[in-house]
Symmetry: C2
Subunit: 217 residues, 2 copies
């Protein structure tokens, strides 16, 4: 029974890691679609999002039946509940990537992001996708201790990039009008929230592994 | 044992309802602080948010110990897990109200919202706070069936108000500059996301009560 449970939990973790992979890929594709005004790629990200929603539901059902059938306690209970928690956050990461793709689709064939903001959005896309990569590494290979601190540092980078976008939009030199200002404001918020979710997931994984919450956030 | 569990679950539900009350109150105060540039009230909302964070953590700990000690199944298991899920969403509602208050604080002593947008933000504050009220009624008194459909309808109202704010900001008549445009864009997003959380909570409460998810969202 304990061996069976360990296998079940490993399978659940692998499912969660697969969701993390999908969220990272969605973020990379969404950013490319945004910066190259690639309509087909944007549609692909938007279409793939419902897969991630379905995977979240499956993860949760599997976790529920593990709880009902095996009634795990202590670390095992934390492990199962962590999967439920993290699956929901990773689903949200997918939603945010899809929002970025939708924004690109709405502007098409125009570019959503003016040329002077392209580098900072490229960096936002790169940093946040790498944060998602780290999650799947934590889930698969362990090394989760210190993961929360590491992603909190990456999150500070994202917050600084976010602040730079807002500073550009509100500067006297902004010549791209209100519509672009609104789109860029929402876009940078989507990246920032994506990063926040990865930090929440890292924190929860660390809690599940160690039993201690790694400081307030 | 079953009687004891029922009492425990009732106590957990009452804790959750109390969190809903706090989120509704936070939204009302945040909107008033925003529309009257009331710095003291804004500070109060921001300060109170950590209470809600603490209540969420307590809710979750209590739910964990119920799961570990009582190993509930079926409807009881769904009930406990729903509390964990909903507590996290309600904590997020508090965060969003605090973001609104922070935005008001940042603008002080200026008003953040120009006069022509005041009525729509007042309505956003009113509708979203009433959505939070409905959650606590569902949690306390039942009547949760149909709650998801009801809050989805309110959410459509919020989406329409959100669209109206964005249309105003992007219209040719906008004379309030970029900084106000960015603040108003983020503000309306905070209200919209607050409403989304209430819909997620209503959906989960209905699932916990009936065992069937009330349609996709």
């Amino acid at each position: 029974m304990r061996e069976g449970f360990k296998d079940d939990l490993d399978r659940l973790d692998e499912r969660l890691a697969g969701m993390g992979d999908a969220a990272a890929a969605a973020m990379r594709s969404a950013t490319r679609a945004l910066l190259t005004a690639d309509l087909a790629l944007a549609e692909q990200v938007i279409g793939a999002d419902s897969d991630l929603d379905g995977q979240r539901a499956e993860c949760e059902e599997e976790a529920y039946s593990l709880l009902a059938l095996q009634a795990p306690v202590a670390g095992d209970l934390r492990g199962v509940l962590a999967v439920v928690y993290c699956a929901e956050k990773i689903e949200r990461m997918g939603d945010l990537a899809a929002h970025i793709a939708s924004t690109a689709r709405r502007s098409h064939p125009e570019r959503t992001v003016p040329a002077d903001l392209e580098p900072v959005f490229a960096e936002l896309g790169d940093v946040t996708a790498r944060m998602a990569d780290r999650l799947t590494q934590f889930i698969r290979g362990g090394g989760v201790e210190g993961g929360y601190a590491e992603l909190s540092r990456s999150d500070e980078t994202v917050d600084a990039l976010h602040a730079r976008v807002l500073a550009t939009i509100t500067s006297a030199n902004w010549t791209h009008g209100q519509r672009t200002a609104v789109a860029a404001t929402l876009l940078t918020r989507f990246y920032e929230r994506f990063a926040d979710q990865t930090v929440s997931v890292a924190k929860r994984l660390e809690f599940a592994a160690t039993g201690a919450l790694p400081g307030p956030r």
